[in-house]
């Protein structure tokens, strides 16, 4: 297919098809759609992508993605600074915020423990979490990693590590389907999972 297409069209199809959930067919549809749109729309898309890359960085407190450091959640005084919700990825924050029930702060690990993928505890933002706990003295830490094998092992690891430091350690539990991801859970499920969190035993 790519041999018969103008090179810039083939190049863009190739770039789109590297994105998650987008195969070559969808990529081609997106490209031909953009070809038919006015120039300023394509410009707006290109600008938005570059602005995201240039202006978004990690919050130095919670490691969420933000334009201003600290992020909007870390700098919001109305939020409960005594409760941390630990998530694997910044996108999980958006899933939980969508449920509009949680009022505490977050901490993003930037991954899950998975030796198969070369990721050990030292490769995550665990050291930063320990420092933050020493500094900010939260009373509760909710571990909201997905209930898959890596999420459970990471939760257990953190629970053993953090319990001696004093805060109550809880885990999102009921409501989340077995093998389900936070990403796909609806708001009601997330709200119920937050309400039904339990203290971790280990």
């Amino acid at each position: 297919m790519s041999g018969t297409l103008a090179q810039p069209v083939a190049a863009l199809i190739n770039e789109f098809s590297k994105l998650p959930t987008i195969g070559p067919k969808t990529a081609a549809r997106l490209v031909f759609h953009l070809l038919n749109r006015p120039r300023h729309e394509a410009q707006a898309l290109a600008d938005a992508i570059m602005a995201m890359k240039d202006k978004v960085r990690f919050c130095t407190s919670c490691f969420s993605l933000t334009e201003n450091d600290p992020c909007a959640i870390c700098s919001d005084d109305r939020r409960d600074a005594q409760t941390f919700c630990v998530v694997a990825e910044a996108k999980d924050i958006f899933a939980i915020e969508r449920a509009d029930i949680y009022r505490g702060r977050y901490h993003v690990l930037c991954g899950l423990i998975s030796p198969m993928d070369g990721v050990g505890p030292a490769d995550l933002r665990v050291k930063e979490l320990l420092e933050r706990i020493g500094r900010e003295r939260p009373t509760e830490i909710i571990i909201a990693t997905n209930p898959n094998a890596e999420g459970e092992a990471t939760a257990m690891y953190l629970s053993r590590l953090l319990t001696p430091l004093g805060p109550r350690i809880t885990r999102l539990a009921s409501g989340l389907p077995i093998g389900g991801d936070l990403d796909y859970a609806d708001e009601v499920t997330i709200a119920r999972a937050l309400e039904g969190r339990r203290t971790m035993d280990h």
Partner: protein, 367 residues
């Protein structure tokens, strides 16, 4: 349960196929490479969602086509059920999607709605082949019988792979993490071993009975579960402690060898004839009779457990047997609610019945 209809699209050599199944035995006759095993493979996928022949699932899709599907409708005790499995070639490999009664479901939700007991020629080495074949025998039956078994198996395997990577030094060694993996292995491993112990106990009873009938009581077949962590009683507590103890006693060796050395991934079955190991001492004929007894027992246990007979799939197995054994095997199964049999010619041991000829991916009703 009774399958009423199976529909294939671009599955192996079938571009499209619809077959209205009969109750009782359905016989598919055809020369080699015409597609009869492909059809049986598709029937098995209605129950298990997996091929019994290959792990390269791209092979299931017809040449130069992106998507294949297998769908079926069946009558079960609770009413009717329709399942389908779509296999697609994507930019990142093969993906499978499952549907139950028209709604998308996860694999765990698909598994076990239709149940199948498949008997293929490679099963004939169940007794004298490697232990992995006997573990597969346990896993295939138990995953269909109980979705939580499948879940525990998947978790167990994933955790084992993580522990193996940790022992290999893929990340900095971490005693705490190793302990967490061991705890998860004990939790999920206990479920597997518990389910296997109960299943083998049930299989052993039926296998012993049918074997005694066939041999006129002259020989005694025993089937025993041999877990990697031996245990006197079958309770979750006892199995969990046995597994924990074995992990403890082998911990130093695991670190030294940089690999997991303990757990249900090393389980096996002992098959004994009059107290001696069949695999070491039995004749070819005695081993074969024991395999038939095991498969009869699997069918009976599956029937007991789900309260109705599973679909019986026999791939070219009867023609491997002499007429006496084939007939004894079929009568040993008891009343077969529905079965699908492939053969190159009318197999020994069965009388006249509806037969379908398969030629180059097409079905033709005989007579």
């Amino acid at each position: 349960m009774r399958l009423e209809r199976i529909v294939l699209a671009n599955f192996r050599n079938f571009s499209s196929l619809e077959y209205q199944a009969s109750s009782g035995l359905n016989l598919f006759l055809g020369a080699n490479a015409q597609g009869k095993t492909n059809l049986l493979e598709a029937l098995a996928m209605l129950g298990t969602g997996k091929s019994f022949r290959t792990t390269s699932e791209g092979e299931l899709i017809r040449h130069e086509i992106p998507v294949a599907s297998v769908s079926g409708e069946a009558r079960v005790r609770a009413g009717t059920v329709s399942v389908s499995c779509v296999i697609a070639k994507g930019p990142r490999g093969i993906t499978k999607r499952y549907t139950l009664n028209g709604s998308a479901v996860r694999y765990a939700g698909y598994l076990g709605n239709l149940r199948v007991v498949a008997f293929v020629p490679s099963d004939l080495s169940l007794v004298d082949g490697p232990p992995s074949g006997r573990r597969r025998f346990l896993n295939e039956a138990l995953a269909q019988d109980d979705p939580t078994y499948y879940h525990a198996l998947a978790r167990y395997r994933k955790t084992l792979a993580q522990k193996a990577a940790l022992l290999r030094g893929s990340v900095t060694s971490d005693e705490e993490l190793l302990a967490i993996y061991d705890a998860a292995l004990i939790e999920h491993g206990t479920k597997l071993m518990m389910a296997r112990a109960q299943f083998v106990r049930d299989v052993a009873r039926y296998a012993g009975e049918v074997h005694a009938r066939w041999t006129g009581g002259a020989e005694r077949l025993e089937v025993r579960y041999r877990p990697d962590a031996a245990c006197e009683v079958i309770t979750a507590d006892a199995i969990g402690s046995a597994l924990a103890e074995r992990l403890r006693s082998r911990a130093a060796a695991e670190r030294l060898r940089e690999a997991p050395l303990v757990g249900p991934q090393r389980d096996d079955l002992d098959l004994l004839l009059d107290g001696s190991s069949l695999g070491s001492f039995g004749s070819q004929g005695q081993r074969r009779t024991a395999v038939l007894a095991l498969k009869v027992a699997e069918y009976q246990v599956m029937r007991d457990r789900c309260g109705e007979a599973p679909l019986l799939l026999l791939d070219d197995v009867l023609s491997e047997l002499d007429a006496t054994r084939a007939g004894a095997f079929l009568s040993g199964l008891g009343e077969i609610e529905q079965g699908f049999i492939t053969a190159t010619s009318l197999p020994p041991g069965i009388g006249p019945m509806r037969s379908i000829e398969i030629v180059a991916g097409q079905l033709r009703e005989n007579g």
